[in-house]
Symmetry: C2
Amino acid sequence: MCEVLRDNLDDHIQDIAESIKTCCFIAIDTEFSGLKSSLETKPSLFDDGEERYRKLRGSSSQFLIVQFGLSMYHKLPDKNKYEAHTYNFYLYPSSFGPRDVRFLCQASSFEFLCKHNFDFNKFVYNGISYMNEEEECEMRRHISTGKLFQGLDREFDERELQEYCSAVAVWLSKAKDGETFDLNVDKRNDVIEYIVHMELRQRFDTVWTRRQGDKITVEKVPACEKQKLELTDDFSQVKLENRIMDSLLGFTRIFRLLIQHKKPLVGHNMLTDLLLMYDKFHQPLPDSYKEFKNELHRIFPTIIDTKHISSNLRKLYEGTGLMESTNLMDLYTALNSYKGRFKVLYSPDICHGEAFWRYERDHHPHEAGYDSFIAGNVFIRMCHLLCNEGIKSTSASPMEFYQYMRTIEPYKNKINVIRASLNHICLDGEDPISKRPELLYVQPRNPGSNLSSSQLAMMMSQFGSVDIKMQGTRHALVAVGNYRCMWDILKAYKKDPDIAVVKYNYWRHSQTARRLLWSGVLLGGGITLLALVTSNTKHR
Amino acid sequence: MCEVLRDNLDDHIQDIAESIKTCCFIAIDTEFSGLKSSLETKPSLFDDGEERYRKLRGSSSQFLIVQFGLSMYHKLPDKNKYEAHTYNFYLYPSSFGPRDVRFLCQASSFEFLCKHNFDFNKFVYNGISYMNEEEECEMRRHISTGKLFQGLDREFDERELQEYCSAVAVWLSKAKDGETFDLNVDKRNDVIEYIVHMELRQRFDTVWTRRQGDKITVEKVPACEKQKLELTDDFSQVKLENRIMDSLLGFTRIFRLLIQHKKPLVGHNMLTDLLLMYDKFHQPLPDSYKEFKNELHRIFPTIIDTKHISSNLRKLYEGTGLMESTNLMDLYTALNSYKGRFKVLYSPDICHGEAFWRYERDHHPHEAGYDSFIAGNVFIRMCHLLCNEGIKSTSASPMEFYQYMRTIEPYKNKINVIRASLNHICLDGEDPISKRPELLYVQPRNPGSNLSSSQLAMMMSQFGSVDIKMQGTRHALVAVGNYRCMWDILKAYKKDPDIAVVKYNYWRHSQTARRLLWSGVLLGGGITLLALVTSNTKHR
């Protein structure tokens, strides 16, 4: 693993670009500042794709990605071996000009990150900046006005700047053309650097500024010379602008490489990751679920969710111990055990590329880079199993990556959804029809009693995952996670003295349906009556 | 300065309590996760106390206090000398049960904290918990149910817990009464500790648990013995509950000591600090501004804002160089310079108490503890100046603290407000009437033209602080910070070809007033007409 921070992004970006360009696929993972902005956005078994998108969208736009993991997998030529280049990025939305992000954090999510040794100082002090397209536009507009402080009251920066300007003014009053003066301007803060260049050049007609090592060197130049430098110098305004935009775009530049090369993206249970990526690096999440799916599919035509694959293979591999759990670490452990590796022969070797060795010795679950590497590994292992499904283990042979991709074609662009009415959504088409059991319908046996949602939840949840939706005070719908849970509940409450639980029947139980039905009967009656009248008329 | 964290609060709380009880006054300061939740909450020269409260309330309820500084000032008996006991607390809202705080952060505020070496890891990993009364009630309710995990999906904790339970089950199957078994449960996390005790006792009828050093010791006991232990043992459920509540209340316990002893609270520009303290440690901020003021005054009858005092003394000390700026660090530097100390003789010595020396050598501006110490120092220096105002410097004499308090009586409970229609609010009475210059009224000279708010702001702000309020598209109100700014604007735009700027006249310029006036005229006319008709009738 290679750790990438604000102050070393430029050192690595060439290598990252090359690796993205030449790899077979890219595994990703994100860590974020929170998951649920409020209780209303809690996932529920009643949610369809649209509703879940609505909930996640509300949260994703408020929380941050604090860490991003990228693991580029390369197949070594003529070897049955993959090499992973894994990068772990800390991200932070640097403020500048109009951009001053307000982000939400969830106390328990930060505590979760603590358990996994997340470094909050690296996050704030040295996190890489990013912007989506909308923010980029606004920033370019701001920079083009040249009024860098306008409308802001960040006195601390202004005081520092004032000191630089005073020092230059004093020096300039006695300096001759060609003489230089050095300012100690911290190299690590690109925003301050840019402002110092711009401010000095705007205030003083006869200075030129350059970054040299740890200092900004101010040179006295004739005004005509200054114009020439603007066209040719390495520190011309245009070049400085490009540099500051590059710095503010930060991780977005890498995200755009992912879009450009369109390599398959692999993640585990990655719906939230996808929404967050879209919102932070691409565009604000659209209102329309359909628009989101279309645009995401346009920029990333191949997305693979290993949680979706493993959930589907669970039945097939029952009893092998390989897919008892679809938790990422459990899958990794099982599939890389002796049994997992040799269930089918020729499962490839997977290693870390040179200079990416940190994860070789230590496990770092829930570090984004580590989890992305693990997701990639699990993906290869499952592909190899699937490719050789139905073949005698001893007849298996080494496989090429394109064969893997052909085999997992049916799982492509299907993203796992937890606790919902459907277990995945489709990015390249209509969402599937729900395979969950029917809803249950609850009412009290005593006509004078009411139901309590929290009490029902407590009673029913001993049988498995349930969610309750009240219909007024005397009726409730119960969504259950699986058929066993449904049957257990129906059995347990069959002779319950207090409440009656039956399978929900739309025409019998829905108030809308009953109203519709009755208005239908009435309308029917009306038509009959009208027909009678008409026929009477006719017969007259 | 003494740094107080989650894991050493218990070591210091006795000393802190004693210091609060015996000191003359307490200076405070807070650092927070952000200031303005959105552009709408930006302070404006149009704001009165009520409106400013509304804006700050919206932000304060979303942001956190991340660091709290307390500096207890003690006058040494028979000496003209004060000793400060300064504590710097890191705070973090630990999540447990129903409590999982979502808090907002402002990117630029975190960057500001970075500039002052704030340690974000101490904040999250080791920040002290706190709760307001409402949160405390909810927590006590939750703990009393005994269902500690209910409704939550924090699987990571549950897994850990499951492991402890399994280990105990295995051991218990072979253990004899009186035998013990040790569990390595991290001592630093009180929440996990509490849950482990409760869960083991609930699951196993014949175990008792105690914290011993780094371990939790599980002892096999007969069930009857267990009942006795519940009444007498140091680890009875009641005592464990008190311990976890103490841990979760954390800093709130210290806040309650402040309320209990009602020592004068001193801060610098402290309106935001007061709102945040109220919201986090006392009660959710009420809707009503009046209710907030009354309740704050009830719990803290004496609050002193050194920014308010210095703003008032500025004129009096003009030219002395002592109060050129009302910025806290500038005041501190000026008032502790040779000139500041000896402008009036016998200004007291101010030192750090034993074990609070860290701030002696180093400056740590914008560390809450340091700023609270500085505010206390500035308070004493200003008191001494004021006490001897009008007396020949050489006639000055050492003063007692009660003399200081008598002198600053007129400044008590008046809190500075920046950029508003009034410069302070009163906690113990009605807010003062605005002393700001009248508003200005702007309209385009060309009847076909419109005004642009941002353009106006740009044009006017070169003369000083201004805020713009549009009245439709052709009229604007301008609030200015001071009289010089108003006169400069009126002069500059006297002969402007594009816009006309005049002092605002309610009866001439307000649309409401004009409507009122016209309806008055019409109503008057109507009455006249009616009178005529009536009189006509009469005369008929």
